[in-house]
Structures are given as structure tokens and as C-alpha cells.
């Protein structure tokens, strides 16, 4: 320890008296041995789910969008719901890696790698849905990208749907860069450990020749800080722009100014719930309990509860503003949400997102693996239904009762949504196998320095 006068005792982030070498061994181990049975079971299940979705999607492309439940006026169905759901999931990773980095929350080091991976795979999954939703994804580039073409037509930059293309595309690119930058030193570690020539070659390529020179670290750290600074407004902008898809229209229940902050809070809420779900499994399967400790999970649960309260506030505020506005269409939209034909969806959402997380007021619940796992699943379900409620209940009854209709998702709807989970988990499981799930270099920089001198003597 340094000799300056500060007697600040840092929080113990890594338990079990680990040395730097232990960090390498423990984190690299899953990438260096054949996967265990639990991994294979999960992987085959994910492959199965993805094939179901893929087959149904291909069937849908061949037969047309008529196989789905969408109709007039409900032109946005489960695909848009699931798009918003996955983009929301994708917010936690960058929040953890960027915002918590700027706030010097050192506990983020244990979870940022897997949370960022989750972000990237969630955004990839999300990006599938607007494309599938068009019914002719191979034409999507014509409509979405501003490129010079023979028709001399350009995309409509006044449309929030196009803002979405830029927002989600930028978010994906920057998240990927941020993630890869963080991985470079860890790839170097894996390269130096690798014995098999193929592994050695692959990690040599990925590490780009990183050698840990401090002249390099100096620039690297600056770049990392800059990425965090860039990603922070970006992460807040992405779900704001997604909410503009709704809020810029004039549909009752969508046309509200609360949408951007409400969507961002909901995104962080659902993203953290998904991180907790995944981390509980990762730390169990790969035996990383000394790195992803109960303290980490407890902090996550606190954020889940805080953002859950924000979301609950937004639900109630929407009702208040509808009443206060005096607009009968707006008032009806909200009465219809809670007590109309989709009342069950509304109350699933409300219970899962607002009532259930209240158990986290108790410290025992925040530190109980079983309880937090169940609650994180509830939140995931609740947040999917939140988007369902927003999308469907507003569309199915707007201004004119003559144009009202019900929306009933079909087998194709559910099957493709189910398949998206398979798509996500295929990538996530491969990530757990092939890349270090914990940022080794970052964990080493925040852990208590091991007593090396003593060790040397005993050697």
C-alpha cells in the first residue's frame, strides 16, 4: 500500500483471497476445457428455440404477413413489442460499462464484460424484428439507408423510424467497439496462456498484438474514458429515440412527453433484470462466485428496485395526465388499458414491474439468490407486457369506434418471439465458452493487491 495519509479501506470486491494468477486461472478455465453438461443442455435448447423461430419466419416470408395477428388498425404486433423489449434489455450493458465507469463504481468490473456481451446480443436480436416485421427483409436496405440510387429518392429524415435506424445502428457499433476495446488485454492474456495452435492463432489475431506496455495503457485508458463519455449520452438517446416511434404519432396513449424518460427507466429496469438472470446462471455454472459476489447482486437489485419505482411512477403519472388533460380520447385510452379487453396484460405488467420488486426493500431478499432469480424473471415478463400494453391497447381502439379491432397473436407470432430467445442464447452461450466472461485486467486493477512478498519467501 502507498504511504500517504489516507486510511481509506476499499470495499472488498473479490473474495476468497485470490491472487492475480487465480483471476487468470478462474476466468480463463471455462474457455480452456470442454463445456460441461449444463452448457450443452442450454445450447441445444437454444438451438431448438432458434430453429422453431427460423422455420416459422421462413414460412411467414413465403406465405406473407397474413399468417400473423396484425390487422387494421393494429399494424404493430408482437414483433415491434419484442423489438422494443430486446433494445431495452440491451441498455443495461452500456449503462454498467459507461455510466458506472464515469461514476467510479468499481464493482462494475466483475459484471461489465458479460453485461456488455448481453447488450450486443440483445441489440442484434432486436435488429432482426423490424426487418422481419417488414415481411420482405431483403428490401429493407432500400427503405432504411440513405444511399445514392437510380430513383434519386432519399429516406425521410423527419420520421422517427429513421432516427431509430441511426440510433440503434450507432448504439450497436459503439457498444461493439467498447466491448472489443475492453477485451483486447484479456485476449492477450488468453493468447499467452494458449497451448493449442488454433487457439493461439485466434487469440493472437484478436489481441492485435497487445503487450501491456504502459505507453499503450495510457492511451488505452484515455480511449476507454472517452468511449464511456460518448456511450453515456448515447445510451440515454437510444431508448428516447425508440420512444419517439410512439410519442411522435398522435395516437392516444402514445402522444406524451413522458415517454423518453419513461422508456429509458424501463430499459434500465429490464436490462438489469436480465443481467441478474444471466449472472446468477454464469456464476453458478462457471464457478465465479468469488468474483460476482452477493454484494454485486445486491447492488444490482437496488438498481432494479429504484428503476422499478421510476417505472411505477410513470404508469401512475400517465393516468394523472390523461385525467388532467381533459382530453376524452386520452382518458379513454387509459381506462381501456387498465379495464378494457386487455386488462389482464395491464395488470400482469403492473404486478410484475411495480408490486413484485418491492420485496427488495428487505435486505434478506436482496441477498437471496432464489428470490432474486424469480423476481428477475418476473421483471422480464412484466417488461415484455409493458411494451405489449403500450403498443396494442393504444392501437386497437383509437378515435373512431368504427375502426376498432382486437389483436390476437397467432402461432407464428409466438413462435418467432420464442425463436428470438434461442437466437440470443446461442450467442450468449458461445460467448461464455470462447471469451473471458469477466474483465480480468479490470478486476486485477480494483482487487486488493495480494501479499506477494510473503509468497516469494515461502517459495
Amino acid at each position: 500500500m502507498t504511504t500517504d495519509s489516507t486510511r481509506y479501506q476499499p470495499e472488498v470486491l473479490v473474495t476468497g483471497g485470490k491472487s492475480y494468477e487465480d483471476v487468470n486461472n478462474d476466468v480463463s478455465a471455462p474457455t480452456e476445457r470442454l463445456p460441461n453438461r449444463a452448457w450443452w443442455v442450454c445450447f441445444i435448447a437454444a438451438l431448438f428455440a432458434f430453429s422453431v423461430g427460423a422455420i416459422l419466419a421462413i414460412d411467414m416470408f413465403m406465405r406473407g404477413l397474413g399468417v400473423l395477428g396484425i390487422n387494421q388498425p393494429v399494424g404493430w404486433g408482437t414483433f415491434i413489442v419484442t423489438f422494443v423489449f430486446w433494445v431495452g434489455i440491451g441498455h443495461a450493458g452500456t449503462l454498467i460499462s459507461a455510466i458506472l465507469f464515469l461514476f467510479r463504481q468499481n464493482w462494475r468490473t466483475a459484471i461489465n464484460r458479460s453485461a456488455e456481451a448481453m447488450t450486443i446480443f440483445a441489440v442484434m436480436t432486436a435488429l432482426l424484428f423490424p426487418l422481419i416485421h417488414t415481411g420482405r427483409p431483403w428490401y429493407a436496405a432500400y427503405w432504411l439507408l440513405p444511399y445514392p440510387n437510380q430513383r434519386e429518392l432519399w429516406v425521410n429524415f423527419r420520421s422517427p423510424l429513421l432516427w431509430d435506424v441511426f440510433a440503434v445502428g450507432t448504439y450497436f457499433t459503439i457498444s461493439l467497439l467498447f466491448w472489443f476495446t475492453g477485451l483486447i488485454p484479456d485476449f492477450a492474456t488468453l493468447r499467452d496462456r494458449a497451448k493449442h495452435p488454433i487457439r493461439k492463432f485466434a487469440y493472437t489475431l484478436l489481441s492485435l498484438g497487445w503487450r501491456g506496455s504502459n505507453r499503450n495503457w495510457s492511451h488505452y485508458e484515455t480511449a476507454y474514458l472517452l468511449f464511456a463519455g460518448l456511450a453515456t449520452p448515447l445510451v440515454l438517446s437510444v431508448h428516447s429515440v425508440v420512444s419517439f416511434d410512439f410519442a411522435v404519432s398522435i395516437i392516444p396513449g402514445w402522444h406524451t412527453t413522458i415517454f423518453p424518460p419513461y422508456f429509458v427507466a424501463g430499459a434500465v429496469f429490464s436490462g438489469f433484470a436480465m443481467v441478474v438472470t444471466l449472472l446468477i446462471m454464469v456464476r453458478e455454472i462457471f464457478n465465479l462466485k468469488d468474483y460476482i459476489t452477493l454484494n454485486h447482486l445486491e447492488k444490482m437489485n437496488k438498481i432494479i428496485m429504484a428503476t422499478g419505482l421510476l417505472v411505477g411512477y410513470a404508469y401512475i403519472c400517465e393516468f394523472f395526465i390523461a385525467w388532467y388533460s381533459g382530453v376524452s380520447f386520452e382518458q379513454y385510452a387509459f381506462i381501456n388499458r387498465a379495464f378494457g379487453p386487455y386488462w389482464w396484460a395491464y395488470w400482469i405488467m403492473f404486478c410484475c414491474n411495480v408490486i413484485v420488486p418491492q420485496i427488495f426493500w428487505w435486505k434478506k431478499a436482496r441477498r437471496n439468490i432464489a428470490i432474486m432469480f424469480v423476481i428477475s424473471l418476473f421483471v422480464n415478463v412484466g417488461m415484455w407486457f409493458e411494451r405489449y400494453v403500450i403498443t396494442i391497447t393504444s392501437l386497437h381502439r383509437d378515435f373512431l369506434p368504427s375502426s376498432w379491432a382486437m389483436y390476437i397473436p397467432t402461432f407464428h407470432d409466438w413462435g418467432i418471439v420464442f425463436g428470438s430467445f434461442g437466437f440470443f442464447f446461442i450467442f450468449f452461450l458461445l460467448f461464455c465458452r470462447l471469451l473471458p466472461t469477466i474483465a480480468m485486467a479490470e478486476v486485477k486493477s480494483v482487487m486488493t493487491p495480494p501479499k506477494v512478498a510473503l509468497k516469494e519467501e515461502t517459495k
Binding site: 432516427w163 488485454p185 485486467a441
Partner: protein, 200 residues
């Protein structure tokens, strides 16, 4: 070994590497190396060590200027793309909005700002660190694991000009002396390293 020596016909000494077991002694030793007057030296750590930049006398990275410049380019090109396509190339009346709808162009201009700045920062970081360079590897696997090192570099093979100031050259390099000096500052082991084509 014999093969290796043949491969690089004149295997030239690149410097002397001293190993340290913990970050604190590395920082202390780095200070001493700098005080001794060495200029061409670098440290190698498995993770970023705070305080090492000062000990080594490294200034602040210039990367923020790259980021800022790229952000400005991103902002203006994002806005100009929207302005040109919506108001010049094919002016189209959408909902009675002006052709140059400034508020509607903010989100995309913001996203391109971030996109350009992020990509430029990444590329600049790689270039300034001379990455990717697949010929490079760690001097020792322990340097990405749990050990730290100082490399005192041998003078470059180029001819040294007579009028080159001393602050650029630093203390003249003697292999034995440098190794002894590193031992004295607390290095637990020293090692000679050779040019293998990745130094500048």
C-alpha cells in the same frame, strides 16, 4: 535457439528487462529509472497501474483532440446529409414542415456525432499504440498475468547525430550496467530482449 539465431542474422539487443512482483515496487523502481536519466524505457503491466504515468513522465494522451475533431466532423456531415437530401436533392413536403426541419434533424445529427467520434477514437488509439501488430507478443506470459516489468531500451541502430541534445538521448546505455541498475531498484530477475521486427 540456433535456428532462431540464424533467422535473424544480426540479432540486435533491444534492451534489458527487469521483472517486478508487485505494482508498488514497480512504480518506485520506475521513478528511480527516470531519475537515473534513462529516457528510452517503458513499463509492462497486466493491468493499468495508477501513478505509473507520472512515474514514467508520460503526458496526457492527445486522443481527446481526435475525438473532438471527429465529433465535429460527424455533427456537420450528419446535418449536411439531412439538409442536402431533404432540402436540395429532392425537396419533399412532409406534413407541411419546412424543408430544412432543424428539430427533426437533431437526433440523426447527434447519432452521427457519436458514431464518428467513437470510430475515430478507436482507430486513433490503435494507430498511436501501433496496433494491430501480430508479430508482437508478450516478452513473457507472466506479464499478462501477475508480474510487472521495466524495459530499458538499447539505443536505436541509427547513427546518432553529434548535435542531438542530451535530453533526447538520456543516459547512455550499457547492457551490464542497466541490468545491475534494475536489480538494484528491486527487480527480481532480468532478461535481455532482442529486436524481432516489432520495434520502430
Amino acid at each position: 535457439m540456433a535456428e532462431q539465431a540464424q533467422k535473424s542474422k544480426e540479432k540486435q539487443l533491444a534492451g534489458v528487462l527487469g521483472y517486478f512482483e508487485d505494482a508498488t515496487s514497480l512504480i518506485q523502481a520506475t521513478r528511480k529509472v527516470k531519475e537515473e536519466g534513462y529516457v528510452a524505457f517503458d513499463t509492462f503491466t497486466p493491468f493499468p497501474v495508477h501513478g505509473l504515468d507520472e512515474a514514467q513522465g508520460l503526458g496526457r494522451s492527445f486522443l481527446p483532440f481526435v475525438t473532438f475533431g471527429a465529433a465535429l466532423v460527424g455533427l456537420s456531415s450528419g446535418y449536411l446529409l439531412q439538409y442536402w437530401t431533404s432540402a436540395v436533392a429532392w425537396p419533399l413536403n412532409v406534413g407541411g414542415k419546412p424543408f430544412n426541419s432543424i428539430p427533426a434533424f437533431v437526433p440523426v445529427a447527434f447519432e452521427t456525432t457519436i458514431l464518428f467520434a467513437g470510430l475515430a477514437t478507436f482507430v486513433a488509439m490503435l494507430l498511436v499504440n501501433r496496433l494491430p501488430n501480430l508479430k508482437r507478443k508478450s516478452f513473457d506470459p507472466s506479464l499478462t498475468n501477475n508480474r510487472f516489468a521495466i524495459l530499458i531500451e538499447a539505443p536505436p541502430s541509427r547513427e546518432i547525430e553529434d548535435d542531438e541534445p542530451e535530453r533526447v538521448l538520456g543516459k547512455p546505455f550499457e547492457e551490464e550496467e542497466a541490468a545491475e541498475f534494475l536489480k538494484k531498484t528491486g527487480a527480481t530477475a532480468t532478461q535481455k530482449v532482442f529486436y524481432e521486427g516489432w520495434f520502430s
